[in-house]
Amino acid sequence: MIFSERELDAIIKTLEKANVPGYTVMKHATGRGPERVVTEDMEFTGLGANAHVIVFCEQELIDKMRDNIRDDLSYYGGVAYISEATPL
């Protein structure tokens, strides 16, 4: 799940509300999306790179969050993909 740092608070609130077991955030990611420009544009004095968020959780939880996250991402920009993963 990758989106702008400035939306981070909203997304985290969504995650917390869905009671995910945990999440990890990596800031300072840059990138380019289908229409909008390279986001390094905003990073130059520390405002607004993207954040990369990883959540390991059950399928049901994902279903619960889906709509809220989609909503945020479609408005502000960003992508979210799901991959299968098993605990070590």
Binding site: S4, H28, V37, D41, M42, F44, T45, G46, L47, Y75
Partner: protein, 332 residues
Amino acid sequence: MEINPILQNVLAPPVLFFLIGAISVLFKSDLEIPAPLPKLFSLYLLLAIGFKGGIEIQKSGFTDQVLPTLSAAILMSLVIPLIGFLILRYKFDVFNSAAIAAAYGSISAVTFISAESFLESQKIAFDGFMVGALALMESPAIIVGLLLVKFAAPQNRPKSRKMHLSAILHESLLNGSVYLLLSSLIVGFLTASSNPSGIAKMEPFTGQLFYGAECFFLLDMGIVAAQRLPRLKNAGSFLIGFAIFMPLFNAFIGVFVARFLSLESGNALLFVVLCASASYLAVPAAMRMTVPEAKSSYYISTTLGLTFPFNIVLGIPIYMSLVNTIIPLSPL
């Protein structure tokens, strides 16, 4: 208008370092000032300029000029976005027009600092309260921009995203750079009035170091501006023209307002520079958050890639000539 003051401006260390940064991008040198080092310098410059401004204001007291000047500054930052919006609507939609217009109504602290350095090198006096004008001109322009979006385009926006006035005020007044500048101003004022020994102890940090830190930061600004410049090609010639014409136009209005306020030439230049400069930090950050429909490359590449270098290198000495021509004319 002679060429001399422009050359003299270009040969000052801050402008030279700015050019060095820009040229390094041109030549594809791998010179880079990695994040968050530029942020360190921008925070430092805001803190130092606020602190010094606060001390000056306390020392000089609130003269007759302070209130009219600050009011005029706020007025300018409300009017300029409206004019800019009307011009931009010829070519752009409401969202982009409002975002770009807000940027030009707001100010650039680094341009202001460069103007101060220019005045110092020319040994022309100016007053600390102008930093107050700097601090007060950032927020109103953001508010006007967001109100323009709110009222000119409410039907286009998804319902859940209606902007609340409180969010607009928060975004505009509590923006990090506005907050740091204003609060450092207050700290400077309080220190000067109750703890004068603190001034001397701060002086090496906020005073002596300032010029060098400004140079270092402008080195980075040169890199950043030159990286944004090529993106202007996509923006089209209308926007390129706007990025040069608008500061000149604003300067022109500004100089007459300054004359009306009977500002002396130093303060007048700073006032004009505030009108002519455009924000590439606070306003873009606020717009990205609240008007994601606007293309950030438009408002960033114009203000940062063109208007900012223009002001730093050519604008300031041009505005100085303007001030020297208009201000001494017989009273209106």
